[in-house]
């Protein structure tokens, strides 16, 4: 038995090394080469550049609380006393609060009060009071955008219809009508409202 085991030890060690070369070096290398060549923007994080400066990634949400911007979802990514809004790109994650958690219900109730003060008493779309899985959700639902149109229009001195037109430009429908949900990209929308988005349609 002992010689049998030692005989098998050689392939165990050497095959692991060889498979490491194949799957740990060649494989990521090939994918990196193809990705960087064919899709350089996506492969490097889908960054949005304004006047030569990176202002964020179109895939990663940012914290917004000023009245002239559309607000994204509550975030649980890296929430600390010095960063109460979350959206920390190095600390993705959800609240993990259970469905019967008092902390969850209290947090949502507080969000409701806050949103009502800023937006009036219309029913609040649920995505604006629930924290996302990643804490970095870049999107809100079209209903959640619509809910905020009056506030943003008033803060910017625009008509609601003018704001709605900008929202429509950053609303994406599901692929083939069913893959994914209708979404509004909050960062691109706010950049557009600021007149900073030049190339994005």
């Amino acid at each position: 038995m002992r010689t049998f085991v030692t005989q098998q030890l050689r392939p165990a060690i050497l095959l692991l090394l060889l498979l490491t070369l194949v799957t740990g070096v060649a494989y990521p290398g090939i994918v990196t080469a193809i990705g960087q060549f064919a899709f350089p923007s996506q492969a490097n994080g889908s960054f949005i550049t304004v006047n030569g400066t990176e202002v964020g990634s179109s895939l990663i949400g940012q914290a917004f609380d000023q009245p002239n911007y559309f607000w994204g979802r509550p975030s649980n990514a890296g929430v600390t006393p010095s960063n109460p809004a979350g959206y920390d790109g190095t600390a993705s994650g959800g609240s993990n609060l259970g469905p019967t958690s008092k902390a969850l219900i209290d947090r949502i109730t507080a969000s409701v009060d806050q949103l009502r003060q800023a937006n009036g008493n219309a029913p609040i779309p649920v995505d604006l009071v629930t924290s996302s899985a990643s804490g970095l959700d870049p999107d809100i639902s079209p209903a959640a955008a619509d809910y905020q149109v009056a506030r943003v229009a008033a803060a910017r001195g625009m008509t609601p219809d003018a704001v709605r037109a900008v929202v429509a430009r950053h609303t994406t429908q599901p692929l083939f009508g069913f893959l994914g949900e209708p979404i509004v990209n909050v960062l691109e929308l706010n950049l557009d409202l600021d007149g900073l988005l030049t190339t994005k349609s």
Partner: protein
């Protein structure tokens, strides 16, 4: 649950049923050493690997030799990953300055990736270097998945061979699994993911100033290459903490569809491979039918309850989108429920929504999938060997008891030795899940883990040991798992769940291989019909339910009743 959600589910099932015969037949040819489309490129690589490693591909192994090889590769792998994680701070390609992992965390993480579990008590953004992820963890994502494939194929060979003493050569099976099956599909899938927006770079994380003037550091890295094998290999270990819920791991509806497809692809196709080996495709379709039935029922239930929202949320919240806590807008609540079902029907454990925040009775679905031992359709390889042993062998035995005949499967008599091995796999799962959960519930370091109070806290503990024993890796992630107590117990649970299954199953395979084939008679219970499929579902669900009902009643079931009564904790 709306029409688009139904269409997503229907399109997924259609794509899988189309792919099943294609990949299933291909896998048969790969494991039987036949020439395939990739042979001109890969065959020279394969032969060179055997030459260097000293493997004679013409020599087959008996079940003991096969088992020793499995265990040795696992042991060497655990030591290698452990060393990388302990030393990563000083190794190259550490763009995010990850410090060395602690001994207990390295122990848990190394076992986790070698056993195909991918339970993660660390956050990838800050706690693992690019070298550790791409060169250590991703390698095990391939190797552990190929190990599952190899063991499944060895069991199938044992079932169909007559008076044979060998099951194949493990080194050959594992090498072919990586080279011919996992690698080509992963490359294609990873490139599609990059196209959809998943980063693939070795550059360091980048810090930007946001529109409102805050600083935000964006974690990038070789994410797409890990994401593809993470789903295809049923691993589930995310490059980033939020896993597939993170927009950098899963940016669009299309990427999400591809990831769900990849998770189910190999487990579906393996049933066809099995039919091919058995010489009758219906043998495989029956298994797939039983697996898919459990999967579809669970998925529709979970999609439905998540889309219905949480009645404890305050009035004034419009819950048209369903229970969105811990979910992403681009996926929606119903498809998040579908993904949660898929990831726990297999041994994947990737998540696009936080399972901890599912509705109480919704959270029962993933938990139930785990305790069934993941056979609907189960992990890569592990699903097939689990279903063949817990399902098929046990079912023919029970059918045999009812009519008073020696049970047969594929023309082989199932006798007391086989039943002992089959029951061992059932009991090992139950003892590990319930035993460790009981220890954690009764001791101070265990009680310190849960985030949530009330029955949900117990669910977090039960889920942790069910997930690790079943080699899944998803979590009710509120549990604080990075403590010596949970790291060490979880590591042991993962070893028990993996090798407590594999060893008896290979023993059973060896015993079945040695048997003669008996001609079917009038009294033979046919294993190709609907009745057998119904029996399979019944046996699997009843064995699981009887074993675990008391524990489930204390967790999600009582929590749902209390939620109905409006109680919060």
């Amino acid at each position: 649950m709306s029409m688009p959600d139904f269409l997503t589910f229907a399109a997924l099932l259609a794509a899988l049923l189309l792919a099943t015969p294609i990949l299933g037949g291909y896998m048969y040819r790969v494991f039987e050493g036949e020439r395939t489309v990739f042979s001109p490129v890969l065959r020279p690589v394969e032969r060179a690997m055997y030459r260097i490693a000293g493997v004679d591909e013409t020599v087959e192994q008996g079940w003991k030799g096969y088992t020793v090889s499995v265990l040795l590769l696992a042991l060497v792998s655990i030591l290698a990953v452990y060393a990388i994680l302990r030393l990563q701070a000083g190794l190259p390609l550490n763009a995010n300055s990850a410090p060395a992992m602690s001994p207990d965390l390295s122990f848990n993480t190394a076992i986790s990736f070698v056993t195909n579990t991918n339970w993660q008590n660390y956050s990838g953004e800050v706690a693992a270097s690019n070298l550790a992820q791409a060169g250590g963890l991703v390698v095990q994502m391939f190797v552990s998945a190929a190990m599952g494939l190899a063991v499944a194929i060895a069991l199938v060979r044992g079932l169909v061979r007559r008076s044979a003493s060998t099951l194949g050569n493990f080194w050959v099976d594992v090498t072919r699994g990586v080279l011919y099956i996992l690698l080509p599909i992963s490359i294609v899938a990873a490139v599609i993911l990059v196209w959809q927006g998943v980063p693939q770079t070795l550059n360091a994380p980048s810090t930007i100033t946001t529109l409102q003037g805050a600083h935000q550091t964006l974690s990038i890295g070789p994410i797409a290459s890990q994401e593809a094998i993470k789903e295809l290999g049923n691993n589930g270990g995310g490059f980033l903490n939020a896993n597939s819920g993170h927009p950098f791991e899963n940016p669009t509806g299309l990427s999400n569809f591809l990831e769900m497809f990849l998770i189910l692809l190999a487990p579906f196709a393996l049933t066809y491979t099995f039919g091919r080996y058995a010489g009758k495709q219906r043998q495989g379709w029956v298994l797939l039918g039983a697996m898919a039935f459990i999967f579809v029922v669970g998925a529709i239930f979970l999609m439905h309850v998540e889309a219905n929202g949480n009645q404890l949320f305050p009035a004034g919240v419009d819950q048209a989108l369903g229970n969105m806590e811990g979910k992403e807008v681009r996926f929606g609540s119903a498809v998040s429920g579908l993904f949660a079902t898929i990831t726990t029907d297999t041994s994947t454990g990737a998540v696009i929504a936080m399972h901890d925040s599912l509705t109480p009775i919704g959270g029962l679905v993933p938990l139930f999938n785990l305790i069934l031992g993941e056979i609907s359709p189960g992990g890569i390889g592990a699903g097939l060997y689990g279903m063949l042993v817990i399902g098929a062998i046990l079912s023919v035995f029970i059918a045999g008891l009812m009519v008073g005949r020696t049970p047969e499967y594929l023309g082989k008599k199932v006798e007391s030795y086989e039943m002992k091995m089959a029951m061992l796999t059932v009991l090992v799962l139950a003892v590990s899940i319930l035993g460790f959960a009981a220890v954690a519930t009764a001791t101070q370091p265990g009680q310190a883990g849960p985030l949530n109070a009330g029955p949900h806290g117990f669910s977090e503990i039960l889920y942790a040991f069910a997930s690790q024993t079943a080699n899944n890796g998803s979590a009710f992630a509120g549990l604080t798992g990075n403590t010596p107590f949970y790291n060490v117990l979880g590591g042991i649970a993962m070893l028990i769940g993996r090798f407590g299954m594999i060893i008896p199953i290979l023993a059973l395979a060896g015993s079945m291989a040695a048997k003669r084939r008996v001609a079917p008679s009038l009294g033979t219970f046919p294993t190709t019909g609907v009745i057998f499929g119904v029996l399979l579902v019944g046996v699997v669900v009843i064995v699981g339910a009887l074993t675990f009902f008391p524990a489930l009643a204390l967790g999600p079931i009582v929590e749902q009743l209390l939620q109905n009564a409006g109680k919060v904790f």
